[in-house]
């Protein structure tokens, strides 16, 4: 019989990733699957930008620390929401957050660490750029994954990119 499968589902709190998770649960999930929700948090640009060496602005140390703490709290809260999702659906698994400048890279790395048998991702996330049919993160994952990838297209949100010419 089939061994336990490790299923990685990329989540970011957007409607698209919620749809991807529901899709996984309805169409893919099998009893015994070990589900790993991989969360690549959107990091506060001001805290993590590498451009500060050239900047004229200097932030007060207390302000920086407050922002960092706020961010940690936000990430923790998000992780709890995802953990609750697993519990609500009665799924065995875990929630993992990965810090990465490129979400796609982070998910691929997490998938390798978790020995994923498949990856589920929404076709877009929170990003606002609608220039393509498929978001950059899912595109990256499909190209770089060594295991099958499910790209879940949200039916109501399938927006056509605007014609630029």
């Amino acid at each position: 019989m089939a061994d336990q499968r490790n299923c990685v589902v990329a989540v970011d709190g957007s409607e698209h990733s919620d749809y991807a998770f529901d899709w996984y649960y309805k169409q893919v999930h099998r009893e015994g699957d070990h589900v790993v929700l991989v969360y690549i948090p959107e990091l506060n640009d001001m805290l993590h930008s590498s451009r500060w060496s050239n900047s004229v602005y200097v932030f007060d140390r207390d302000v920086m620390e407050a922002m960092l703490r706020e961010e940690q709290e936000r990430i923790k809260a998000d992780l709890e929401v995802f953990a609750q999702k697993l519990k609500d659906h009665g799924l065995g698994g875990k929630v993992k957050s990965v810090m990465a400048s490129k979400p796609g890279e982070g998910i691929i790395k997490a998938a390798e660490e978790e020995h994923a048998d498949l990856i589920v991702v929404g076709s877009r996330g929170k990003g606002t750029l609608r220039r393509t049919f498929v978001g950059s993160v899912s595109d990256y994952i499909v190209h770089h994954s060594h295991v099958p990838v499910f790209v879940c297209k949200h039916p109501h949100k399938h927006v056509h990119p605007e014609e630029t010419h």
Partner: protein, 175 residues
């Protein structure tokens, strides 16, 4: 060609009225490549659920737009079309056999179209598929890209979830 697909649509409607809650309609484009084989196998072993109905489709070589003065002669075209029909029949036999062995209800259809990806996406709409399962590439000889052009385009233009099935032995040499 719309009329030719009418029986399919009626069939789908019939299935949906009987099984409206429990079944998913799965579209699996197939060809004679190892990727296609792996993909079908993956679906059967990892994704199939009782009640799902599989529509397999082979997009045949299309010679409809060849001008009078260009390309092969009409006689040669007929030969090529016949070869493709034979090829399709072999694929059909194999796919239906595999589905039957695994107790999966499924059908096979050969569809012609100018752009393979477009044909697949249109067919997915016709049969009201719930998801498309396809390999990361097919018969294409050019290995310069990680993802074949058909898979790439179907992924981009599909309105429904797509599973890109990566063949494990063929994905190790990219960097």
């Amino acid at each position: 060609s719309q009329d030719a697909l009418l029986p399919h649509r009626l069939f789908v409607l019939l299935l949906q009225t009987i099984f409206f809650e429990t079944m998913a309609i799965i579209l699996i484009p197939v060809d004679s490549s190892t990727h296609s084989e792996y993909c079908l196998d993956f679906y059967i072993k990892q994704l199939h659920r009782e009640g799902n109905h599989v529509f397999s489709v082979y997009v045949g070589d299309y010679y409809g737009d060849v001008g009078v003065l260009e390309g092969p002669t009409p006689g040669r075209i007929q030969e090529l079309e016949q070869e493709d029909r034979l090829k399709s029949a072999q694929i059909e036999e194999h796919v239906l056999q595999v589905l039957k062995e695994n107790n999966i209800t499924g059908t096979f259809k050969r569809v012609l179209g100018k752009d393979v990806w477009h044909t697949i996406v249109e067919y997915s709409k016709t049969i009201k598929a719930d998801m498309i399962v396809l390999g990361s590439r097919g018969m294409g000889k050019i290995r310069r890209t990680i993802l074949g052009s058909v898979s790439e385009s179907v992924l981009h233009h599909s309105h429904i979830p797509v599973l890109i099935c990566k063949h494990p032995h063929h994905t190790s040499h990219h960097h």
